[in-house]
Amino acid sequence: MSITLTPAAIDKIKQQLKHRGYGVGIRLGVRKSGCSGMAYVLEFFDEIDDLDHLFTFDTVRVAIDPKSFVYLKGIDIDYCREGVNEGFKFRNPNADNECGCGESFYVE
């Protein structure tokens, strides 16, 4: 099982990488946080770690460390607008509980 990015997400990442001026791609991960277990990490990355899982979408590279990958398999990332907010939306088939604050999710 792999991960997917919508065209809107790919475009937005490209745009933001260009704006930043440097960097190899984006890194996805999870960390323990919030009230329901885990939170997503979404950041730029400048260096590839040999142990990372690496995906390429168009020219966008996405790195996930193996430990986080267990929780992110099959994830779909979109870029969308909700009301006045816009940002990346994570649709995680593994997550079955999201906490009220929206900060964390839980995997069954």
Binding site: F44, F88, G102, E108
Partner: protein, 631 residues
């Protein structure tokens, strides 16, 4: 779920490869800057090729003049020329040393301004603080490094005397900030010297004496290197004993030959004779004799004359050394290494007497004036990640593996995640699991795996005396603190009573880089099974809690098993879950059993609540109910 934005990588993962960092020895009389050039720590010279920057700042011009260029003003405009500023760093007027500072200030023709409780140098048309003066010196060194390295320098390791207290260290940090430098670490001067000699890489415990006779100060430090951490066992010294005193003594001797005294000379003449005395002293390191001139007088000074003049001073340093050794609780024979630091230790008579005292030849291969700065540069280079990891095990800047505690079910709860920058301290609250629980066991762990058994156990300690409370009410705050040397201390305190327990450990003892990598790889390889294990254990705990709650409920209210088919199902499901918990083969079905019991238990609990309500309300009038609720 909320929407996310892409953030910058966290600091620990940042690409540090291209950054240069410098090491600075901010000395009382001289300062130096060093950095790694072509894989070797190198002292960076100024544009005229000079290594030492005299710690002198002249404030009579439009902008501060630092170093050699400021030196002539000592003679022409001493009122606005500041020397030995380090002596005033972070000192408070109220301190016991205030008196001494006052004297020193008079000596240097400056005044103590009590406004901020800190000494302030009152110049002709402005005032400067010791921090500002130090910042000017640091900035000069920074610019020197930037010129040579052709790069912006922002990060530095700065050395401070081992005896510097928090205020003095803080003042040094503020000065660095004002100079536009980020302090990667303040390193003790004796430790820096030991690092320069590579003693930190000797894979054994060592006891080290660092004999530092500088221009204006003498410091003796006894260090212990154990488990890769330098610990200062004792420091002693004299802040008014150094090479300058030898210069003065020599000058007095020269004047004495002509029946003159230092006091009868003008200030300019005093400076001139001192400068000459210093150059004679320096030339006597290499040669056996030197010529002194003073006005019409000319005389020859031999090494033995200098030996005679310096003897009382060296004796004094050895007395201090003896004292420090006693304070440290070490015997002379325990000292494995002796290191010489400071320009004055070049003098043959100093070397000889130190050798005689310690009964071993001290390290002097590295220029004693440069050794501290070189050590700082080595450390700086490690801290920005230029050193191959297998060599940089000892002095850490980030936590290589996560630290945490064992929680119910044999799971590891991470408190400080790996790659956290040190030093760090993190607090987390825990609570009791059972009613009336009066103690807690803390099992401190290191590693990346989910189960306790797969991680490295560091220590176990207990917190006892928690007053009896309902489960979940006690508030136990656990603090994890890792200092810059990687020393971990864990403290647990129960908030209502204030009872405390704590432990200190060196987390990386016995682990090298390959162990760390193995841990990390294992955590990656077992990511899937670890996740399942964690879920299983968590389900186990949930199951146990559910069973416990049901038993409690049963004991409060005996239900009629036979009559009620629903409660028969409940009992059956309860028994099944208990069996699944006890039996390893049934663990696959744990989830299923749990869910079945959970649904039945939910129904049972709500039924029970309804029954309670009914029994409370049955046969009462509305008025009666109101009365109950008002009670």
């Amino acid at each position: 779920m909320g929407l996310l934005t892409i953030s910058e990588p966290s600091s620990a993962n940042k690409n540090k490869k291209n950054k240069q960092a410098i090491g600075i020895d901010l000395g009382t009389t001289h300062s130096l800057v060093a950095s790694h050039l072509q894989n070797k720590p190198t002292i960076l010279p100024d544009q005229s090729g000079r290594y030492l920057l005299p710690s002198i700042v002249y404030y009579g011009a439009d902008r501060p003049i630092v170093g050699c260029d400021a030196e002539p003003y000592l003679l022409t405009d001493p009122e606005q020329t500041i020397v030995s500023v380090k002596r005033f760093m972070g000192r408070r007027e109220q301190s016991s040393r205030a008196q001494k500072i006052e004297e020193q200030l008079k000596l240097y023709h400056f005044h103590l301004d009590p406004k901020h409780g800190m000494p302030v140098f009152v110049l002709q048309d402005k005032q400067v603080t010791p921090i500002e003066v130090s910042a000017d010196i640091l900035q000069t060194l920074k610019k020197r490094a930037e010129f040579i390295l052709q790069d912006d320098i922002v990060e530095a390791v700065i050395t401070v005397p081992a005896y510097f207290d928090n205020a003095q260290r803080q003042a040094t940090k503020i000065a660095a900030k004002q100079a536009g430098l980020t302090v990667l670490r303040l390193l003790n001067e004796p430790t820096a010297a030991a690092v320069a000699y590579g003693i930190d890489r000797l894979n054994q415990n060592q006891c080290i004496a660092v004999y530092d006779l500088g221009g204006g100060t003498f410091d003796l430090s006894i260090l212990q290197l154990s488990q890769g951490v330098f610990k200062v066992l004792a420091t002693s010294g004299d802040t008014a004993l150094g090479g300058d005193d030898l210069d003065t003594a020599l000058a007095i001797w020269i004047l004495d030959q002509q029946s003159l005294t230092l006091a009868t000379l003008t200030r300019t003449e005093q400076r001139a004779i001192l400068v000459q005395a210093r150059s004679i002293k320096e030339s006597l390191t290499e040669q056996s004799r030197a010529i002194a001139h003073w006005k019409e007088w000319t005389g020859e000074i031999t090494q033995s004359v200098l030996d005679m003049i310096s003897k009382p001073f060296i004796q004094k340093t050895l007395q201090i050394t003896h004292q420090a050794l006693q304070d440290s609780g070490q015997m002379l024979t325990d000292i494995d290494q002796v290191i010489l630091v400071g320009g004055a230790t070049r003098m043959p008579c100093v070397r000889k007497q130190v050798t005689d005292y310690f009964q071993q030849i001290p390290h002097s291969r590295i220029d004693p004036e440069q050794v501290v700065a070189l050590g700082a540069a080595i450390q700086a280079n490690m801290l920005v990640g230029h050193v191959p990891p297998e060599e940089a095990v000892l002095l850490l800047d980030v936590l290589p593996l996560s630290l945490g505690l064992e929680t119910m079910g044999g799971l590891m709860e991470k408190i400080i995640p790996r790659n956290t920058t040190l030093p760090i301290h993190i607090k987390q609250s825990f609570t009791t699991y059972k009613n009336g629980q009066n103690g807690m066991k803390f099992h401190v762990l290191q590693g990346e795996r989910e189960l306790v058994a797969d991680n490295h156990s560091l220590a176990i300690f207990h917190l006892t005396g928690i007053p009896p409370m309902t489960a979940g009410l006690a508030r136990v705050e656990v603090t994890f603190q890792v200092d810059a040397d990687g020393l971990l201390s864990v403290t647990a305190s129960e908030m209502t009573t204030g009872i405390q327990a704590s432990i200190e450990v060196k987390p990386l003892y016995g682990m090298d880089q390959s162990d760390i990598m193995n841990q990390l790889k294992a955590s990656y390889e077992h990511a899937e099974s670890d996740k399942k294990q964690r879920e299983f254990r968590e389900k186990q705990i949930e199951s146990k809690q559910l069973i416990m709650a049901l038993h409690q409920a049963f004991s409060e209210q005996e239900i009629e098993k036979e009559k009620d088919p629903e409660s028969q199902d409940l009992y059956a499901a309860l028994a099944a879950l208990e069996k699944a918990l006890a039996c390893a083969e049934l663990c696959e079905q744990l989830n299923e059993y749990f869910n079945r019991l959970n649904i039945l238990a939910d129904a049972y609990f709500s039924k029970k609540a309804n029954q309670n309500l009914k029994s409370c309300l049955a046969g009462r009038s509305i008025d009666g109910i109101e009365r109950i609720s008002n009670d």
